[in-house]
Amino acid sequence: MREFPADEPVRVERTGHIDQPLLLLTLLLLAIGLICLFSASYAAAYDTQNGNAAYFIIRQGIFAVGGVVVMLLLSRFDYHKLHYFAIPSLLLAIAVMATIKIPGIKNYWVTINDATRWIRLPGIGTFQPSELAKVAVILCFSSFSAIFGKKKMHTLRWGILPFGAIIGVFAVLMYWEKHLSGTAIIAAIGMLIIFIGGANLFWFVLGGAGVGAAGVWYIRRNEYALNRIKIWLDPFTDPRGLGWQGVQSQLAIGSGGFWGLGLGQSRQKHLWLPEPANDFIFSVVCEELGFMGAALIILVFALLIWRGYYIALKCDDKFGTLLAAGITTQIAVQTVLNLGVVTGLLPITGASLPFFSYGGTALLIQLAEMGILLSISRDIPLSKEG
């Protein structure tokens, strides 16, 4: 392939230390997330784990500690070397996800609610290969964009097609998993990276129009999809059926009011809300901490994302910039998607809330990504930081 420059042509002073605001924001979110998870999960844990109310929080706590260690280690790791991991991580992700069709290994995949999204690792638990795919896409897309350069990225051949192909492969793999929301998230993250990387906006406009038209056509001829849209717009038309999740989530949020019912006082988490520890954890947060608490948490998320993009902007290395922007974008997309779903702004899809939702691998990967971001922050030129 190509050579990476071993030495800087001009030595520039680097900050050399990790970005402390980002670290603090991350740890703050993690701490709040864990507290909320404990409150949100104990009713469900009590019900499903034979009375062990602390089941979820203990497992999540272990992953959080491990995740923080990984984050701190990675912040010391030179992110430039991640170029080398781009293609291997892509192949690894594809390979792992392809096992869904391989006899023998296939049995390790776990099906819940008709979707096969998890692989069971005996003794450890389950993890979602799509989380791996997100990392691979971020690495590859930022690496490739940096390598192709501004001019090539502007063309269809370089700037769109290779990336489209990769997303296409993942789309097929995730179609087998019946993981539509995961596909959408990966496509969105990938798309936004090449958007930053300099892809021609014309294709975005064209693609957007195409997807929009296809969507309208699909919804028009598919009664089920149309019904989903109607339920999304007014879930109270079928509160016991398709609208159940949306209704319960909005009831939880609404009953919180301005000041909330108090930490631990949620009523909706008592089996009314689906997945109170996972996709709908924020509904519980809104119910317990009220508008005040929810708005403050959203503010912390916004600051974290802002800081992530700030690091991307300040980084003078193109790969670093794209990687930082990619990681930040992933957090942003997932957060916005989750908040949109629980508040009813978006139709119900499975999207977890970073740092809050129960899920060991996801948390571990998110913290690792924050580690990479911190590593990139160490590379910010001193002069520019001023």
Partner: protein, 781 residues
């Protein structure tokens, strides 16, 4: 080989900035705006909906109040039982480990699950859950059908509801509840099939006062009688327990519970006296059987001074503990034989309503001669007649406007008589003359004033008002002796009480007090005057004249020795029913009050269709009143004043004389007015006839055995019916038996109508035979 572009260019920076703004400001801004909309602007909407979802609102039923008689004896009480609740939502298991052991094994077997698979790893599909729920519902329905005879379909329907709380049955007894609890525990269903506290109504004395008390439905709601009239008072105010629950319907911790204490039902204290009621019911039942009554017998006893009902009954009755079972078994069979479902159920509910009907307030009938009291009192009050106004009765009277003469009950007539005598004779032509003299307008005015054209206002449901429609002098003539218009028994008792008490019409009432659960009096009811109808003078005169009816006239058979009873007979034909059935059907009645000089109680007894001949108020009904008064007046502590003759034959209780010396025994008997003979020569009495404790006439001659044995022989009782008392006494004396006359008095014109030991039965030597006598000449209609 392309060279890696090291530097980020300006377009990258612009695009990153763009994303940062989109996410941080636009997207989060939209979410915040949405939160403001839901949490701040529309909180109440969501909160209300959420609370409706999350709360289980359970009504806590207060204990229903008790109904006491005037002396504080409980007649209707609520006892605690249990209420069976089903939580249909929880019938469906949420995971494998929720299943009972048997269900788990069954599931593993049917789904071919290896025995080493951990229970917690087995996932139940929605289909599995639904199937298990269905199986469980069937099992529950089965058990409830066996233990409580609950309808399977009803249980299954309730089990299929999307609900967390369904009441399956109230008033479950502990034994049945234990069986169901054991079943629920065994099948891991304790969370969804459980019991709450409940209460059930009991009437400890069965059919006693049944029509007045009424009965309650399955939810303890009053259906008839006082239970219905005072339902709100007795029920109290239900409390509520509002509990927050999870989606399975389980209560969250107690912190989330709000409890509103129920307000216990208030109790009723009736004016009804259990003892008087008991006497009344006893004698009504005897009268029903003696007279082979085809419809019913009705009785009311009222306190003439304050309008309180002391007793009220009709027979046949029903058991309010089991109000939906027809007492009339023949009728019940007739109804179950009806083929058509709808007709059968209509017939059944009609029969049940009829059975519950409180006839003393709802029965409408022609008052007949009892109404002559009202006609006479009105005319006396208006000064149209005096007690000595002369009349002549040729046995009929011709009234203008009616082609035929209207007959008196006595063929040939009563001849010359004054008003006082006309009442004793119950003479129709004389009273027609009185009524016509009063005129239609004034007659109607008094009928109205005596309360016959409106409800009495008693605190009982189902009160009727009779039909009164006077349009001619013929109507007036016939109305004057109580024919062709209807009243209710209660209206008559109320009006007669007014005649007796100095002329004031009172509003009858049956509840004396409403008491709070803690026993304090919440409300009390007493004398409520409606209006003054006649003067005190007229009232006194009427009392005197009506006493004569009993002492000398058609009411003779209600005379009670030692007591001054006033009253009037009544016999009417049920013309409409007679035309329909083509045979003679009668209502006989007797209304009385006592003591005549200072009236305390008024009594009406009425037989609807007696069939033992000869039929008349004086013969069928007056003796019933006598038997009743004979027991009630001593109970009411009315001091008896005997005439000399009565004094010699009054009823006394035979004392135990054994162990006494002859002279002591003789002295003891002498105090009672009795005499004695002796047999033997020992120093103390060893035996006696009549036996101690029997009721005897005070002119009885007892035999004392001093060491000798009483003849140990059995005597066959002769048939005494139709004999005068003198003959009966002689006949019995020859056999070594004694006679005692119920009521304590009998003149030479009276003959035996009843004897307590049946003819041809054997009794021990020296037994006292109690007989009843009546003047068979008193057949006034």
């Amino acid at each position: 080989m392309a060279k890696i572009e090291r530097k980020s260019d300006r377009s990258i920076r612009r695009r990153i900035l763009f994303l940062a703004v989109v996410f941080c400001l636009l997207c989060f801004g939209a979410v915040i705006a949405r939160l403001v909309y839901i949490q701040v602007l529309n909180r109440d909407f969501y909160l209300q909906k959420a609370l409706t979802n999350q709360t289980r609102d359970v009504t806590i039923y207060p204990t229903r109040g008790t109904i006491y008689d005037v002396k504080g004896k409980p007649l209707a009480i609520s006892a605690s039982t249990e209420m069976l609740i089903l939580n249909p939502r929880q019938l469906s298991p949420s995971k494998f480990t929720d299943l009972s052991k048997a269900e788990q094994e069954e599931y593993r077997f049917t789904h071919h699950i290896a025995s080493d698979t951990k229970s917690s790893d087995i996932e139940l599909s929605d289909g599995d859950k639904a199937a298990i729920k269905e199986t469980r519902a069937q099992a529950v329905a089965q058990v409830l059908e066996e233990t409580l005879e609950l309808d399977r379909e009803t249980v299954l329907q309730k089990a299929a509801k999307d609900s967390a709380y369904q009441v399956l049955r109230r008033g479950v007894e502990k034994d049945d509840a234990d069986v169901i609890r054991a079943f629920a525990k065994e099948n891991k269903l304790s969370g969804c099939l459980y019991f709450n506290d409940d209460s059930t109504r009991y009437y400890p004395y069965g059919s006693f006062l049944a029509h007045v008390l009424g009965c309650v439905g399955t939810d303890e709601q009053g259906l008839t009688g006082l239970e219905k009239q005072y339902d709100d008072v007795l029920t109290g105010t239900p409390g509520r327990s509002v509990t927050l629950t999870d989606a399975h319907g389980n209560a969250l911790t107690e912190d989330y519970e709000t409890y509103y204490e129920p307000e216990e039902g208030q109790s009723l204290v009736l004016t009804v006296d259990e003892v008087i009621q008991h006497y009344l019911e006893k004698h009504l039942e005897i009268a029903y059987n003696d007279n082979n009554v085809e419809e019913s017998v009705i009785g009311i006893v009222m306190d003439v001074e304050d309008g309180g009902i002391l007793a009220m009954a009709s027979y046949p009755d029903f058991d309010p503990n089991d109000p939906f079972t027809l007492t009339d078994t023949a009728l019940a069979e007739e109804i179950s034989a009806i083929e058509d479902d709808e007709q059968r159920s209509t017939a059944r509910s009609e029969a049940i309503y009829a059975q519950w009907s409180n006839k003393p307030v709802s029965f409408m009938y022609y008052p007949g001669s009892t109404f002559k009291i009202i006609t006479a009192a009105s005319a006396l009050e208006e000064g149209v007649v005096t007690e000595y106004t002369p009349f002549y009765c040729p046995g009929y009277k011709v009234v203008e406007g009616w082609g035929k003469p209207i007959h008196c009950w006595k063929a040939g007539g009563h001849g010359d008589e004054n008003l006082r005598e006309a009442l004793q004779n119950s003479c129709n032509p004389a009273l027609m003359t009185v009524g016509l003299a009063l005129g239609r307008e004034r007659f109607t005015q008094y009928v109205t004033a005596f309360g016959f054209r409106e409800k009495t206002g008693i605190d009982l449901p189902g009160e009727a008002v009779g039909m009164y429609n006077m349009s001619s002098n013929v109507d007036l003539a016939v109305y004057s002796f109580g024919q062709n218009f209807t009243i209710t028994p209660l209206q008559l008792v109320t009006a007669v009480s007014a005649v007796a008490n100095g002329g004031t019409l009172l509003q009858p009432h049956i509840v004396k007090e409403i008491r709070n659960a803690d026993g304090t009096v919440a409300q009390s009811f007493g004398r409520t005057e409606v209006r003054q109808v006649i003067s005190k003078e007229t009232s006194d005169l009427m009392c005197d004249m009506l006493e004569d009816v009993v002492t000398y006239g058609t009411g003779k058979n209600s005379y009670v020795a030692g007591y001054r009873v006033a009253g009037k007979t009544g016999t009417t034909e049920k013309i409409a029913e007679m035309n329909k059935e083509g045979r003679d059907l009668y209502v006989t009645s007797f209304v009385a009050f006592a003591p005549a000089d200072n009236p305390k109680i008024a009594v009406l007894i009425l037989l609807d269709e007696p069939t033992v001949l000869p039929i008349s108020g004086g013969l069928n009904t007056a003796p019933v009143v006598r038997r009743f008064l004979e027991e009630v007046l001593p109970y009411l502590e009315v001091a008896p004043i005997y005439t000399e003759e009565e004094q010699s034959s009054r009823s006394v209780l035979m004392p135990d004389l054994t162990g006494m010396s002859f002279s002591e025994a003789e002295a003891a008997l002498k105090k009672l007015g009795m005499t004695c003979a002796s047999s033997g020569s020992a120093s103390a009495v060893t035996d006696q006839v009549p036996a101690a404790g029997t009721v005897v006439a005070s002119n009885t001659k007892a035999i004392l055995y001093l060491g000798t044995l009483k003849p140990d022989k059995q005597v066959t009782v002769p048939d005494l019916h139709g004999m005068t008392l003198r003959n009966a006494r002689a006949t019995l004396q020859n056999l070594g038996l004694y006679v005692h006359v119920s009521g304590g008095v009998s003149d030479g014109t009276q003959t035996v109508t009843k004897q307590d030991a049946e003819a041809q039965t054997t009794v021990a030597y020296g037994t006292v035979i109690t007989v009843e006598t009546a003047d068979m000449a008193q057949r006034a209609q």
